[in-house]
């Protein structure tokens, strides 16, 4: 097979010591970037762009690939240990992961996240190697109408994170949708809820809101609880590693999460958050003990973590096969290509075969490096929990602040971070779930824009959502997801 021969050539390039070193460096930096709240791979790679004038292309892209995958691995760590996701794609991991950590099961949670990431990353990379033209062509069938239906489906899935009180969950979700409206409207250029603040015109940055609600909010809540919180951060009990039961319960969620991750990641407006949400919903619905969800179900960590890493591989498919960036990181990678005078597009695989295959091979290698790097780190990371809570949470506020300020050098953004920290605190104090707010902020603008794009294309005809086959199918699935559980329940009752 042609692809295999190319891939072998790619491996022989990627495994050269100098290139391998760049890969290792990338993985290390990426893991750190993922662990630190507020700093993401897009920013890191953007800051390294000037290096493209000095470092050869192959080494540079191997480095970038390491950072990209590494950040996806690292993102789960703080979510699980401290309930402080550093980026929006790890919000779902925090839900169950942190509950597990509080029950003294931080080790297995980190292990299932790392192994799940490895498996999903590897399967995603295999799909990228052999099937990306196919998957990308399928993803191109998704237009605005399909995205809107997909968002409705996601909104149904959000019901799985609303918590015990439906009213509180919906309040949180709707506040998130409202916050999503802030800024310049893409379709008309009108300003909404910006109150004359230029900083608000681009909307609220999801990362800032997520880090504020989770990290800063959590720290404030801990401070407020004071001595009552002591001893709440559980000492580690039991194994640091996955036991037989952990493996048995994790492998299916890993695979299902992967199946959500890479097709949606490959969609031009898919993103990494949506698959984590759908994976969480699926695992909760399929679980034999759904009551465990909310108290630390390992499936709820395994699935979303796999989904988010597979999505990372998915994002590379349209970038490499068509030159279409579908995420902030992909856009920066694209500009790295152009500063080498390489134009990614439909012809990239022919014109730059060596570079592309080395990059792909380095993704496999990077995954292995990351697994080797992260599994021993589990032992080290859990030691974090031995730090006294006041220092630990003080440190989190410090790092979040530095991360947000470093990303934008904007004092306004830091203020925003603390404002959302306060909101997060109040919500915790009065028992409102914070995850629906983050999901609302992500889904709201996507749903609104794709609906209006679809309506512009259909000249205002709402039937377009039902008559387009894929869109109609997704709507039907969403309707079934809403109705079937209710029917079953009323029958059983």
């Amino acid at each position: 097979m042609d692809a295999l021969a190319h891939l072998a050539q790619g491996f022989s390039n990627a495994l050269q010591p100098a290139v391998l070193m760049y890969g290792f460096l990338g993985c290390l930096v990426g893991t750190l970037v993922g662990v630190l709240p507020g700093i993401g791979p897009a920013l890191t790679i953007a800051l390294l762009l000037p290096l493209t004038f000095k470092v050869p292309a192959t080494a540079m892209f191997v480095l970038f690939a390491g950072i990209y995958y590494g950040a996806m691995y690292g993102g789960s760590t703080t979510s699980i240990l401290l309930n402080t996701p550093g980026e929006s794609a790890s919000v779902m991991t925090a839900l169950e992961g942190n509950r597990m950590a509080r029950r003294g099961m931080a080790g297995p949670a980190l292990a299932t996240a790392a192994i799940g990431s490895f498996i999903a990353g590897t399967i995603g990379t295999i799909a990228l190697t052999f099937f990306s033209p196919l998957i990308v062509e399928a993803a191109l069938l998704f237009g605005p109408a399909e995205y809107f239906s997909l968002m409705l489906l996601a909104l149904v899935a959000v019901t799985s994170v609303l918590g015990n009180s439906l009213l509180r969950g919906l309040v949180s979700l709707n506040l998130g949708l409202l916050f999503g409206m802030v800024g310049v409207d893409l379709q008309t250029g009108q300003h909404r809820f910006a109150f004359g603040q230029a900083e608000l015109l681009d909307g609220l940055e999801v990362t800032i809101v997520a880090v504020g609600l989770f990290a800063v909010g959590e720290a404030m809540f801990m401070a407020w609880k004071g001595h009552a919180a002591e001893g709440k951060v559980e000492k580690i009990s039991g194994s640091l590693w996955l036991d037989r039961d952990g493996w048995r319960r994790s492998w299916k969620p890993w695979l299902r999460g992967t199946l959500f991750g890479f097709p949606i990641g490959a969609m031009p407006a898919g993103g990494a958050e949506l698959p984590t949400l759908l994976s969480y919903y699926t695992e909760k619905k399929l679980s034999k003990n759904p009551e465990e969800f909310g108290n630390g179900a390992i499936e709820g960590v395994a699935g979303p973590e796999a989904a988010n890493n597979a999505a990372a591989a998915g994002v590379l498919m349209p970038l490499l096969t068509l030159g279409i960036p579908t995420s902030a990181t992909a856009a920066i990678l694209l500009s790295a290509f152009t500063s080498y005078g390489i134009a990614p597009g439909p012809l990239l695989f022919q014109q730059q075969a060596d570079l592309v295959w080395t990059l792909i091979a380095s993704l496999y290698v990077g995954n292995v490096i990351l697994l080797v790097l992260n599994l021993p780190l589990v032992g080290l990371w859990v030691q974090l929990l031995r730090i006294p809570a006041p220092w630990l949470y003080g440190g989190i506020i410090l790092i979040s602040t530095a991360g947000v300020y470093g990303a934008s050098s904007s004092v306004f953004d830091v203020g925003l971070l603390y404002a959302f920290g306060l909101i997060g605190f109040v919500m915790r104090r009065f028992d409102f779930p914070v995850a629906p707010m983050v999901m609302g902020l992500i889904l709201g603008p996507m749903a609104e824009q794709s609906m209006r794009q679809a309506l512009t294309i259909s000249a205002g005809d709402f039937a377009t959502f039902a008559t387009r086959p894929i869109s109609g199918t997704i709507l039907a699935i969403a309707a079934l997801m809403l109705i079937v559980p209710r029917v079953l329940r009323s029958r059983n009752a």
Partner: protein
């Protein structure tokens, strides 16, 4: 990112030195330049700024560069900050371009591109009108016919509302005698989703800067019908709008600006630096690799160009219903 007094004195000294009749190669023209980019790292303005740095440093025109990126809203977050914090700073440069003009109008901001001191226009990029490769529309004449029949039935994809792509569509509809408000303009955030919507056949046509679509055109997934510049893009056989009987010209330009309140001599020093930078082999090399068209223009010609662009943009945005 603050300039220290020491740096300021050194700059002042360097400025003095630059005006003395010493051979140009004896010392850098500027010891340091503060490069202000009103956009996040990685975008077009940032790329231009880094390219200027690269060209200046390899020709030893400038000792060191300091970068400040303040992104957001077409430059409307960064611009006020540059105006307020860098007032009269002789070694501050800001990269900006046509996008900022539209952004300032739609933001109804009192601070616009006229609040900074124009130094030089550097590059220009034509827009291009495309259709998906398998579209029933085969030629520009057929697209024009479709627009004339009913613009609402011809959804066109491009960047955010009020941006250069939207404005070009408005100009085209106006030239055809249709109301620009009838445009079925589908705004996408960023080039990726717009590209995908066009090659996936979700929309009837697309408008963007040529480089944004170039690879899809070369790969045969989009059919280019017309470019929007004054003349054809070198090496590209796509005819201009004018050649096809539509009197519309528009281009996305990028240039550099100085801080408000700098003295005429200080402005002249910056102009001299950029003129020297433009002549370096490094800059010419960058123009070829990035496929940027050199559209250098400085002094009063550039000032006039900006004034005309502001008037034109305001006019189209009113037609589109995006400005009062």
């Amino acid at each position: 990112m603050k300039t220290t007094r020491r740096e300021f004195l050194m700059t002042a000294g360097a400025l003095g030195a630059a005006t003395l009749p010493w051979p140009a190669y004896a010392a850098p023209m500027f010891d340091s330049i503060l490069m202000f980019v009103p956009a996040a790292p990685g975008g077009g303005w940032d790329g231009t700024a880094r390219a200027i740095e690269q060209a200046c440093k390899s020709a030893e025109l400038v000792g060191s560069f300091q970068f400040e990126n303040v992104g957001g809203s077409g430059g409307m977050v960064g611009l006020p900050r540059f105006v307020n914090q860098r007032k009269a700073q002789a070694n501050a440069l800001m990269v900006a371009g046509s996008v900022m003009i539209g952004a300032a109008i739609s933001a109804k901001s009192p601070i616009g591109i006229q609040s900074v001191v124009p130094i030089a226009k550097l590059t220009e990029e034509s827009g291009v009108v495309v259709v998906p490769a398998n579209s029933p529309i085969k030629s520009f004449a057929e697209l024009v016919a479709a627009f004339k029949a009913d613009p609402r039935k011809v959804p066109v994809a491009g960047g955010s509302a009020g941006g250069t792509d939207h404005i070009l569509l408005g100009l085209m509809l106006k030239a055809l005698g249709r109301n620009p408000k009838e445009a079925a303009y589908v705004a996408f955030a960023g080039g990726g989703p717009a590209n995908a919507a066009i090659i996936g056949g979700q929309v009837a046509a697309g408008i963007s800067g040529y480089s944004e679509f170039e690879e899809q055109i070369k790969g045969g997934r989009m059919r280019p019908l017309a470019v929007s510049g004054e003349s054809r893009i070198p090496g590209v056989s796509v005819p201009t709008l004018r050649e096809q009987g539509m009197n519309v010209v528009s281009a996305n330009w990028r240039g550099v600006f100085g801080a408000p309140g700098i003295q005429p001599a200080q402005r002249a020093a910056l102009e001299k630096l950029i003129a020297a930078m433009r002549d370096t082999a490094g800059w010419k090399q960058i123009l070829t690799t990035r496929r940027w068209a050199d559209s250098y223009q400085a002094g009063s010609a550039f000032e006039k160009y900006i004034a005309q662009d502001v008037t034109d943009t305001l006019g189209v945005m009113k037609d589109l219903g995006l400005a009062a």
